[in-house]
Amino acid sequence: MRNARHGQLKVFIGMAAGVGKTYRMLQEGHAEQEAGRDVAIGYMEPHRRPETTALAAGLETVPRQQVTYRGTELEEMDLPALLARAPELALIDELAHTNAPGVEHEKRYEDVRDVLAAGIDVFSTVNVQHLESLVDQVDELTGTRVRETIPDAVLGKADEVVLIDLTPEALIARLREGKVYPGENVEAALNNFFTVENLLALREVALRQVAQEVEAKRLVVEAPLGTREEERVAAEVPKAVGERLLALVRPQPSSQRLVRRAWRSAQRLGTGLDLLWVQPPGQAIEGEVERQVTALRHLASVLGATFLIEESDDLVNGAAKIVRERGITYIMVGESLPRRGLTRLREPLPQRLMQATPPGVDVRIVAHRGLKDTHKEKEAK
């Protein structure tokens, strides 16, 4: 009757090799076995780490299958043997691994999908840089291109995600002690990937990723009953991310300051940024305007932001339309010029934006820090 239920997936995620994902997976495997469950190792990669190998003792291991590829003997997880053995819980290391040609599936997460479908619970491990959506970001942060990836949805569908966290200093100390790689590889690792800067960046990415997973799951649990799981996830994902920022820009150099502040806020919140210019109807994009629009488009591309142009004769209406369409939660505007003449009778822009946009949208005015400092200097004199 076990096949009637779908197995549960628990993933141990870390910022890099050596943080202790496999070790923790084995520890929990032992705990489950001691609690009376039938546990087997489907595949474990000890990476020549004696402590990890020792911890695997006492857990049954399903023998690996031998695969010959281009004259080389390789070992892969034996999926048919594991399914035939049918433990209650299988420990399967390295979720992002690419199998040698000739076995059942190209990727290990596809093997895991079959195991889960057979009603077997799975514990697995992955490093954050293997998530498909993060590959470019990790490459840019660390200079290392990851080839073995898994779709983000694999992690999204996991029933539990456990972050195995370690400070960069502690991981480097483990590396120096030879607990991660054999001695001859330590120096190369320290000089290339395992720098404090790289590990700090990856740790931040891992912490954010798990925070997003947790938030997404919390929101999915709160979804109304009777909704299909896919629909629930799809509907709630934008909310799970939390915030979406919009900076109202004009084609002039001073807008770049606003974009910088908005981008830094977006980075801190781990969310996307849109830049919007509400173009008055009939205003031609030529000359200096064209140059500044090009500069803003270029800056948006550098930052990974989206530059939008909305034609409208009313800034507030144009912005409100985009706010509704893109689920914006936070609008940033620059300081207004001193109001002259009849414009003094109008309500200030932030108030008009607050009234025109849906409830819950924050509006922030970005001050000119340089002007603030000049003002302070004058006051001091």
């Binding site: 470019d136 970001q137 490459d139 840019e140 942060l141 200079g143 291109r145 960046a201 150099p253 770049q256 300051r257 910088r260 981008w263 830094r264 980075q267 000359g287 200096e288 090009t294 500069a295 270029h298 800056l299 591309s301 550098v302 930052l303 990974g304 003449g341 009849l342 000119h368 820090r369 340089g370 002007l371 400092d373 000049t374 200097e377």
Partner: protein
């Protein structure tokens, strides 16, 4: 209210509106008559600090000539990534420096129009920038410590190729002050 008073009010409002429209059209006319000459000074830099002497020299020139200063952070994109990909890590280095330069410029009344330019190398980034932005002058620090990633070859290339005056600043032996991201400037 008598008819006369209504007429006076209408005339007053009409006069004010007419005056406003005439003033606006004159202002727009003056604006469109302005010469389109671009007066820009480029200050390219790399890394996380730039020689304060170079920044101050560029600001002095910009103020004297009523020019706009264009500080430009040159970022390299590895060949395995598309040249037009987003580069948040590089941008995170550039942003605080651009902010610090802009604050110094604002304090001195100089207009700033900053850029971040991507390239396969610093020279490539600079070349791309020169291709699509017009400049009157380029101010570049030749220090090996700040902005020093432009090699002597790059500087020679700049002298030969840049369609503008190039001012290469060789720092004095005691010139160790940089504009950095943390507090705008510091003594190293």
């Amino acid at each position: 209210m008598s008819v006369e008073r209504v007429l006076i009010v209408v005339a007053l409002v009409g006069g004010l509106a007419g005056g406003y429209l005439i003033a606006r059209s004159r202002r727009q006319g003056r604006r469109s008559e302005r010469p389109q000459a671009i007066h820009q000074i480029l200050l390219p830099f790399t890394g996380t600090a730039i020689s304060r002497r170079a920044v101050d020299a560029a600001l002095r020139l910009a103020r004297a000539e009523d020019a706009t200063l264009m500080p430009a952070y040159l970022a390299t994109v590895p060949k395995r990534l598309p040249l037009d990909c987003s580069i948040p890590a590089e941008a995170a280095k550039a942003m605080p420096l651009l902010e610090a330069i802009e604050q110094r410029a604002t304090a001195q009344g100089v207009n700033v129009d900053a850029r971040i330019e991507r390239g396969r190398s610093y020279r490539h980034a600079l070349s791309r920038l020169l291709d699509h932005e017009p400049f009157d002058r380029v101010v570049v620090p030749a220090s090996a410590e700040a902005g020093g990633d432009l090699s002597p070859d790059d500087l020679a290339w700049l002298l030969e190729k840049a369609p503008a005056e190039v001012l290469i600043l060789r720092p004095g032996p005691e010139d160790k002050r940089f504009v950095t991201a943390k507090n705008g400037s510091q003594a190293a």
